[in-house]
Symmetry: none
Subunit: 146 residues, 2 copies
């Protein structure tokens, strides 16, 4: 389980240190790719496995082809150096608009990486906002279960 928010530097070579608490839980075969709302997502192998149903073949529909290309095209296996850092590719940094600082956030089953602005926008919430969103999700679930 990944919990907590960390602010780390990104150096000129695109390297970011993954917090030690997270790293301990990440076996080899961990994948990083694009995520919704402009973040990057780090998938431990068992989580990534769920995304792999998506394959290309002569019978794959158009939208799935598109998603597969974007998702796998942006993905890389995480390779940690001796200091526990991974390299974010130029693509990945551009997509997430990350230059010198990254926010690394544990979100239960996976890890997200955000730039300064987007994280402030998405992650920080006033008590009022927080309450409103909680109610919204509850409402939606009630509607679906019927």
């Amino acid at each position: 389980m990944f919990l907590g928010t960390y602010r780390h530097a990104v150096d000129t070579k695109g390297r970011v240190a993954i917090p030690a608490r997270f790293r301990e839980q990440l076996p080899s075969g961990t994948i990083i790719s694009k995520g919704a709302e402009g973040c990057l997502q780090v998938y431990p192998p068992q989580e990534w496995g769920m995304e792999q149903g998506l394959r290309l073949g002569s019978t794959t529909p158009a939208e799935e082809r598109r998603l597969a290309r974007m998702m796998f095209g942006a993905a890389r296996e995480c390779e940690f150096d001796a200091q526990g850092r991974i390299v974010l590719s130029a693509d990945q940094r551009q997509y997430a608009a990350i230059s010198t600082v990254a926010w690394i956030v544990g979100v239960n089953n996976l890890i997200e990486i955000w730039n300064d602005d987007n994280w402030r926008h998405i992650g920080e919430a006033t008590p009022e906002e927080y309450t409103r969103i909680q109610d919204q999700v509850a409402e939606r679930r009630r509607a679906q279960s019927t």
Copy 2:
């Protein structure tokens, strides 16, 4: 599993370097052919085998005959030189409109090769687009499973 996007030069002889990460996973018997949306596709032997359900016979429907002719007719075995490059034939370069630059993209089970423009259209996505397409495919799957 093929992951990531690479931008490589195509020289005057039509040669492109296949990224080392991909090359390691490509045994001999790898096939390159035409793909949807104007890309070229590189099939490792086991993936190519899956496409071979497509056969010509007296009961083959018309569209399948057409697809089989195009797909198998355009196919070639990949031959790597000592630097890890393959030669794209004049046909293949024309089909994919590739001149001096190629984008080489790992899409889970196979590899695609694109020209600049087409890749920019299909593969690069703003966070908004990416989020929308992800939601669309998720929605579609949810609908199908009921």
